[in-house]
């Protein structure tokens, strides 16, 4: 096993707060909320209509023709992450995608009698990832993962391993998803979405006593990862280090939560072990924080199990109150927030939180940004089917930042 340091040298984002990493970060800093009424398709009687849609995005651009809506977001995010990356290095650039639904609309079209929009010898997810890589001139290994809402973090974890193992020197880890009628119908059937209650409009309120569900959203988040050596050779700025990752499965039930959070706790511990860190080394947790009744409590229990007494001093935030639950993109967009927190010393607030649920005994950042010395950040993600993925990021210099810029 090598000890190659794997660095983040580029990032790209598309979400309901806007297009670009700066739009995401400024929105998070301001405590903005990008959620609103779903307008992309008719709700068909479904009682849940709060969503995070990407607006003002030119998805008909020539270069993205033939890609699904989600993959177009991914292409845009990848291009942003690759800014300044030399063309000559792209021949071996790996691409790892993570998505819940991939080209679902095209798949449904095939099922309804249309032609398969992918080569007969391939599959829909693989073909889409390959098409994405082709448009980026990325000639390295292409992997498309689907681990439900843990997909974005799982993509980062997988690329980390590929680079450590020498299968790539640089690569893109991109989580993405878009909203479509069939997945919305299914997600509503799972009864995890926020609805108006007690005269209040629907809202996503992570860790709040009155939370009653999440709101699904669309977008893409991309990290450019490369070996420290590769980054230094090309003079790239190192934004952060991907120190470790853990991906596992609760192995208990297909749709029910692991109420004690033991699976997520194990994933966090795997990530810490992989990073060679003690729980007390972690300065901040970007929680999965879906704002569903069971999941937030389970995550709080998982955090308590891993961090024990140290938990009291660790600020926790969930950005889902701002951008909703971006499914395959969730972990990726949250990873971008983690890296910005490391470089700026600012933890964004948990939008929607008013009164913390006493059953969620964690220090949730609330109301406004919190400035903090941050050296190591843990990013959590979990999904239907029991998949969990945790990733640890560290500052490139290993120090706490303290600047609070």
């Amino acid at each position: 096993m090598t000890t190659t340091r794997v660095c983040v040298t580029g990032m790209g984002a598309v979400c309901c707060l806007g297009v670009g990493v700066d739009a995401l970060w400024e929105g998070l800093r301001r405590g903005a909320c990008g959620l609103g009424p779903l307008t992309r398709f008719a709700l068909g009687g479904v009682p849940y209509g709060l969503a995070g849609q990407v607006e003002g995005f030119d998805t008909e651009a020539d270069e993205s023709r033939g890609l699904s809506r989600g993959a177009r977001f991914a292409l845009r995010a990848c291009r942003e992450a690759l800014a300044g990356f030399p063309q000559e290095c792209r021949r071996r650039l790996a691409v790892v995608t993570g998505s819940n639904f991939g080209p679902q609309e095209a798949i449904v079209s095939l099922l309804a009698g249309g032609e398969a929009p992918w080569p007969a010898a391939s599959g829909p997810f693989g073909a889409e990832a390959a098409a994405l890589a082709g448009r980026l001139d990325a000639g390295g290994l292409v992997a498309s993962l689907s681990l439900s809402c843990a997909s974005g973090n799982a993509a980062i974890a997988h690329l980390l391993e590929l680079i450590r193992y020498g299968r790539a020197e640089a690569g893109l880890a991109c989580g993405y998803d878009s909203l479509d009628r069939f997945s919305w119908a299914g997600l509503s059937a799972l009864r995890v979405m926020a609805a108006p209650r007690g005269g209040r409009p629907a809202g996503v309120r992570p860790f709040d006593r009155a939370r009653n569900g999440t709101a699904f959203s669309e977008g893409a988040g991309c990290l450019l990862l490369e070996t420290e050596e590769h980054a230094r050779e090309r003079g790239a700025a190192i934004l952060a280090v991907v120190a470790g990752a853990g991906v596992n499965n609760n192995a208990c039930h297909l749709t029910h939560s692991d109420e004690e959070g033991s699976g997520l706790a194990h994933a966090m511990q795997m990530a810490l072990d992989d990073a060679g860190l003690e729980p007390s080394d972690v300065d901040h947790v970007n929680a999965h924080g879906t704002a569903t009744k069971l999941n937030d409590v389970a995550e709080a229990r998982a955090l308590a199990a891993v961090f024990d007494d140290a938990l009291a001093g660790i600020p926790v935030t969930s950005i889902k109150g701002s951008i909703g639950h971006a499914m395959g993109a969730a972990g990726s967009l949250e990873a971008i927030a983690c890296v910005r927190t490391l470089t700026r010393g600012i933890i964004p607030p948990t939008v929607g939180l008013e009164t913390r649920d006493p059953d969620c005994a964690v220090d949730v950042v609330q109301g406004a940004v919190r400035r903090a010395d941050v050296s190591a950040v843990l990013n959590n993600a979990a999904g239907i089917g029991g998949a969990n993925a945790a990733v640890v990021f560290r500052r490139a210099d290993g120090h706490r930042n303290g600047e609070g810029k």
């Binding site: 290994l141 992997a143 498309s144 299968r167 299914g186 059937a189």
Partner: protein
Amino acid sequence: MEEAPVHPDRVYVSGMGVLTGLADNVEDLARVLAERSIVRRTDRTQRELPRRPLLLPPFDLADFLETRRPYLDTQSRCALAAAAMALDNAAVEPDEVDPLLCGLHYANSLGNLDTLEAFRRAVDEKGMRLASPVLFSHAYPNTTASLLAIEFALAGVHQNVCGGRLCGAQALQGALMALDAGQADMILAGGADAVAPELLERMWQGAPGNLPPGQAAAFLVLETQDSVERREGYAFCELASVVCMGTGGAATAAGMAEALEAAVDAAIAEAAMWDGDVGLVACCGAPAEDSPAAQAEGLALRRFSQVPKVGAAPFVGNVFAASFPLECALAAEAVSSGRVPADVVLWGEKGGVEVWVEGRPEPLLGGAALVVGCSPEEVAAAVLVAM
């Protein structure tokens, strides 16, 4: 890629499970392939290639599992049965292993399309409001992986690759990396693809030059040397390396062949072997025999012209994510038994390039088997070594 990774511990194949249209275990599959290896010379006209999608015979999951589930997608049934076979083959007792150190690396290309189709129909007929949560939760691309983890208490490392035809190789590569990194003692690794015949037929008709698609699942139980020894398990062989690479955007046979040769070189180097150790090459074959990928396989394997080659694809069809794990299982059976499982010649001359040579039903010469796969997007190579 300058240096081969250091392997702190050997990784063994301690169990195998395959489910195909020909046979439901690897020994029978090897035997049936040998019986059907009707091509003796490089004469393509003698081949009896299948003309329709190659379907699994009806089977009762209760023959494989005690658990009863009210609903399962076709792919999930197939994967659960093959996985149960593999773990049974490995003789893993639940109290011998720590679930947190047992993982899953799973691959599927097509997804749970049968369930997604049922869900789509229901939504179209009854409306979004009455969508079925059961169908929806079984239509997720990672549902089968989750069911495998739940059924077999695989609570450790977990991966679900939904890629192209060689994504099964990626599952094996990921498992090997995780075992090498000490993240698990044992990983069930493999892939499955199985969708309804009508859909398979329709997909195939869209690409008439292609090999008919099939239904199959194939798994290997991969285990560290320590784990096998601790529980006194049986190791069929060592999985010494798995290398997956992109093709660098190559569109020509020569470009793909260059990538495949690089993967083969890396796989043999990481296994600390040399070409002369390879006594068998198991080939995924290309879905379309006139394709650049098919020619690339031939070009890249010229250096093994005297080595027997096997490949199940013409007999079981294009089984997508199961392709590479299936060939690995055949290779493992060969190096374990010391016999070439089939004397087949699958392809003839193509554009002046001798793509395949005749194999011989003789004892395996050399202590290792090479498994290769080539597609326009990616190439893969693995080396399995006799104990």
